[in-house]
């Protein structure tokens, strides 16, 4: 694990036999295409960066390479041979070690046990405890975390240290390809520099690294070549000399998105803004992250954006009362939000991300789904006034533009988009003051999206406040008065309507202020 101190080594010749080659790799989940056509290769002794925004297929590609998902089509060549990687153990036997974006550690086990995890067979230990301790120390030393006691339980570790443990776990394996899936995001500067220095050492020794990062400075710093994924396709592979921040950002954003965003500039909403409905004051998501303020006023649609795992989902959940921030509070005129029911009483209606499991009631009818949250309104001493409930159901169907065979139809018979509109109708039946939406356009068809846009705009025009977390950037540009972009588990920038476009959003999501390059 010793790292020779080396000067910058030149990028390897592309003519060498590649270690890994992807040929038209595909993966779909039902009708959703996660990876459409991915082709590129990684040379021995190369640090190869993989870049792309949310949903571009990076994680799917890494899961296929690590044996977690099988591909639906195309080929993966390992050492020149077509290979199917059946499970994580097989991946390791080939020499592929992956550090996942999630810090997959076991709280109850010690640092040592967490680092050597999976090296052993079912019963046979590969190393003695003494050897394990020594190896773990060396692996941790590579990233400058040699102060960690291997016998310490992981439960006591910070997020950065946990990430260090998962990196040490990968380094300890006899790998030929190290896959880092945005696993440097929680590391502090010193640990990151040490890791990069080690990566250069590994490269000089002929080992390869596939490196996913959302930090442009990191990519410019270490990558020999970078492949850009966009909507599941590999659109370009650029060499170190050709790589610029602006160039990569441009390759990442689709033309359709750019067009949609231009169209958005047309109708600047002219809604009267009222008093603040939701006010985050001094909110820090983790004890060590930066605190921030964010206000949503009546009549305003505020977008929430960020790359996967950068804190935006945790923030929206805090607004809905599903979790408590480490510091600060989200306030309404009823006081600080402390629980889901308390947020609901303050007039906040929340739409969770998983419609099937957290949203609709699949066995119930459209009418039941629409009115189930507001049944109190139709009850007289506990008896439901059925005609009033049906009338309200019809009104909500019209308001939410739901296409259905009737109020009694089972909701499971509806398309995903119509189910989502019914769900929105159910929230509107509560007469909320604010809608907090966690990625509402997931799995929703185009027509239904247009309807949902209309519902949201109408709700805002009527004086409601909307907080809209979306992974579709064009949609944020279209609907929002301003967009709050999260980066590194804190609010990074708030982009006002006048300067709102997909490019600006991507730049901020990647931690670039403005569209200017190199100012991380």
């Amino acid at each position: 694990m010793s790292v020779p101190a080396l000067k910058e080594t030149p990028a390897p010749l592309p003519s060498a036999a590649p270690l890994v080659e992807f040929r038209g790799l595909r993966r779909n989940f039902g009708e959703t295409i996660a990876l459409a056509d991915c082709s590129f290769e990684i040379q021995p002794g190369e640090i190869h960066a993989l870049v792309g925004e949310n949903g571009s297929g990076k994680s799917t590609l890494i899961k296929i390479l690590s044996g977690i998902l099988p591909e639906s089509g195309g080929e993966l060549l390992w050492d020149g041979k077509v290979t199917r990687i059946a499970d994580p153990r097989t991946a390791q036997q080939h020499g592929i070690a992956t550090v996942f974006q999630e810090t997959l550690v076991l709280d109850q086990l010690s640092v040592r046990d967490n680092v050597v995890l999976g090296l052993d067979r079912l019963f046979r230990r590969v190393h003695s405890v003494a050897d394990e301790t020594k190896l773990v120390r060396e692996a941790l030393d590579t990233i400058g975390m040699n102060a960690l006691d291997p016998a310490m339980p992981v439960a006591a570790l910070s997020l950065a240290q946990r990430q260090g443990v998962t990196i040490a776990r990968a380094l300890l394996r006899p790998w030929r390809l190290l896959v880092l899936d945005e696993s440097t995001s929680a590391l502090d500067v010193d640990a990151r520099d040490r890791l990069f220095e080690a990566l250069r050492g590994f490269r000089a020794a002929g080992r390869s690294i596939l490196f996913v990062s959302h930090r442009m400075d990191e990519i410019l710093d270490v990558a020999d070549r970078s492949t850009v994924l966009r909507s599941g396709r590999s659109v370009a592979t650029v060499t170190r000399a050709e790589t610029t921040t602006d160039g990569l950002l441009e390759l990442m954003s689709t033309h359709e998105e750019a067009q949609a965003a231009e169209g958005a500039a047309r109708a600047v909403p002219n809604r009267a803004l009222g008093a603040p409905v939701i006010a985050a004051k001094g909110v820090a998501l983790l004890p060590e992250t930066a605190p921030f303020d964010l206000t949503v006023r009546a009549g305003e649609i505020v977008g929430i954006a960020g790359l996967e795992g950068h804190g935006q989902v945790a923030f929206v959940e805090a607004v809905a009362g599903l979790r408590r921030p480490a510091h600060g509070a989200v306030e309404t005129d009823q006081g600080a939000i402390t629980s889901f029911s308390n947020a609901a009483r303050a007039g906040i209606a929340y739409l969770p991300r998983e419609r099937k499991t957290q949203g609709i009631f699949a066995p119930l009818s459209v009418l039941d789904n629409l009115t189930i949250s507001a049944l109190k309104r139709f009850a007289h001493f506990g008896i439901l006034a059925e005609s009033r409930r049906r009338a309200e159901g019809r009104r909500l169907i019209a308001q939410s533009h739901v296409a259905t065979a009737g109020l009694g139809a089972p909701i499971s018979a509806l398309s995903g988009g119509n189910q989502q509109k019914v769900f929105l109708g159910r929230l509107l039946a509560l007469n909320p003051r604010a809608l907090v939406l966690n990625d509402p356009m997931r799995g929703v068809d185009l027509g239904a999206k247009q309807d949902i846009y209309k519902i949201l705009e109408q709700f805002a025009s009527d004086g409601g406040a909307v907080m809209l977390l979306s992974t579709e950037l064009a949609e944020l540009c279209l609907l929002c008065d301003r967009v709050a972009v999260f980066h590194n588990r804190a609010l990074f920038a708030v982009i006002e309507r006048k300067s709102l476009d997909v490019q600006a959003l991507i730049a901020a999501m990647f931690g670039q202020s403005g569209a200017s390059r190199g100012t991380a």
């Binding site: 690590s66 977690i68 499970d87 994580p88 153990r89 991946a91 390791q92 992956t98 996942f100 999630e102 810090t103 997959l104 550690v105 076991l106 709280d107 109850q108 086990l109 046990d113 995890l117 999976g118 090296l119 052993d120 067979r121 079912l122 019963f123 046979r124 230990r125 590969v126 439960a155 997020l159 946990r162 776990r169 998501l285 983790l286 992250t289 804190g311 945790a314 979790r323 408590r324 480490a326 588990r489």
Partner: protein, 322 residues
């Protein structure tokens, strides 16, 4: 390495409860710790403790794993030991123990296969094998009968002044300690702690869970042998009460129902606690129905406390991930 006492370990409440009730039993009846009483006490406590151990290992592997068939499997082994094998002329200790252990392994393989490969909910899968074993036992042995072979006196009697059943505990404890020297226990805690972390790290999660059921089956089979030695015959209904007590013992022993935490020390204390409670009740000549009520209530309270601790742990883990 220096020996250090871990005051945060999961088993302290169980051990404290054990000490309190142990003293309670002595105060209520000083004869409790007289030498003559060692043998009946240990024989009485054995099924509580060993079935709790049998329950502990699948529960430690998490993912809702548990084994409802431990009691009925012990009953089936009891019937085979006292009725079927003597009927076939097999009475030597080695064959009998080998057959008992083989039944335990087979049951573990079946439960593990149903849960991990067929993917039946553990509670349903082991309810199915529980009913099957019960039916099989009644087919082999419609009413109590049979006789235990003479060598089982080693377990039911005293060896050099020490009850023979004590050595059964020692053997199991040594086997568990040896298992802890292999990679298995770490793999078990990893699978119970977070199956995704274990899987992505390259652990064979299916076999870790199957082996947990095998350990459970083997321990249940040992309980069946102890039953046979204790009553000197076979009773088709002897195992059933220990389904509930094994789960209560696990909860009292501080073993996390969400998996990934626990061990046989806490489980032994949990199982022994139940025996001590029963003993106190019968000393006070309380009706058997009250003992049942007590078990039911203890199970509920222990499970409630267990899930509160679990929830606190989950919330802490969630807060760390943003």
């Amino acid at each position: 390495m220096k020996f250090k006492i871990d005051w945060n370990a999961y088993y302290w409440p169980a051990l404290a409860g054990f000490v309190i009730l142990f003293v309670g039993n002595i105060v209520a009846n000083p004869i409790f710790i007289s030498h003559d009483n060692w043998r009946p006490v240990l024989l009485g406590a054995a099924p509580f403790i060993i079935t709790t151990w049998a329950q502990t290992v699948p529960i430690m592997s998490g993912n809702g794993d548990l084994d409802l068939s431990v009691g009925p499997l012990a009953g089936l082994v009891n019937a085979v030991m006292a009725m079927t094998l003597p009927g076939l002329g097999i009475t030597d200790p080695f064959s009998m123990i080998a057959i008992a252990l083989a039944i335990g392994v087979a049951s573990g393989l079946l439960n593990g296969f149903l849960v991990t490969i067929v993917r039946v909910q553990p509670i349903i899968a082991t309810l199915g094998t529980f009913l099957t074993y019960q039916g099989l036992t009644l087919e082999l042995l419609p009413i109590s009968g049979g006789t235990a072979p003479p060598w089982m006196k080693v377990i039911s009697g005293n060896v050099a002044g020490i009850p023979g059943v004590f050595f059964v505990f020692v053997l199991i404890a040594v086997a568990w300690w040896l298992l802890g020297k292999t990679a298995y226990r770490r793999n078990l805690l990893a699978v119970g702690g977070d199956i995704r972390a274990a899987y992505t790290a390259g652990i064979n999660v299916i076999w870790v869970r199957i082996v947990a059921f095998i350990v459970s089956g083997v321990l249940a089979a040992i309980t069946g042998v102890v039953f046979t030695a204790t009553i000197g015959a076979a009773d088709p209904t002897i195992g059933n009460p220990y389904i509930l007590t094994s789960i209560a013992g696990v909860a009292l022993g501080g073993v996390a129902f969400s998996g990934g935490q626990g061990g046989l020390l806490g489980a032994a204390a949990g199982g022994a606690l139940l025996f001590l409670i029963e003993n106190l009740f019968s000393l006070a000549q309380v009706s058997i129905y009250y003992i049942q009520i007590a078990y039911g209530s203890i199970l509920l309270v222990a499970l409630a406390l267990n899930s509160m601790v679990d929830r606190a742990r989950r919330r802490k883990a969630q807060a760390a991930l943003v």
